[in-house]
Symmetry: C2
Subunit: 104 residues, 2 copies
Amino acid sequence: MRQIKHPSIEQVELTDLMYALSDPTRLEIVGRLAAAGRKMTCGEFDLNRPKSSLSHHFKILRAAGVVETIIEGTEHMNALRLAEIEQKFPGVLQSVLSALRQSP
Amino acid sequence: MRQIKHPSIEQVELTDLMYALSDPTRLEIVGRLAAAGRKMTCGEFDLNRPKSSLSHHFKILRAAGVVETIIEGTEHMNALRLAEIEQKFPGVLQSVLSALRQSP
């Protein structure tokens, strides 16, 4: 089965992570995945943005090691790589998620 | 005396902070200011990059509320706004600084 390539967590740089989190749409995707605590299809995000724009954002999130996209049948399922990111950069993603929950 | 404008901490968005920290030169500036624990002139960073490029990076750091540049006589003194950032986004900059210290 075709699968999408992801970087290993060792390949991920802090600057990649920061860049991935520097866009409001990507922060929203990350915040929703964290709140859901489960894999989500791209359609479930209901972000009211063009599909091409969402594909671009997911690509950046994958390249930064933040999101893993797994093809399950006809669906693209997205999961947050929270534990791995947390182990590599302790507290960074967790504190960003807290700041996100506090923001109006 | 001429002074440089800075955003109030209320104006700073989480995405601005993430973007400011998404570049290796800017991360290095922030890391050095944190390690020094004092104001530094632009020249002290000795980053071996063109002055115009450094001006650009300092501009982005100022716009994100990360760095404050104060004109003292003929010098531009740069300080980290660590306490303010920490109060607005608890743990974010501190965990990034820790990750930076751990990186090879």
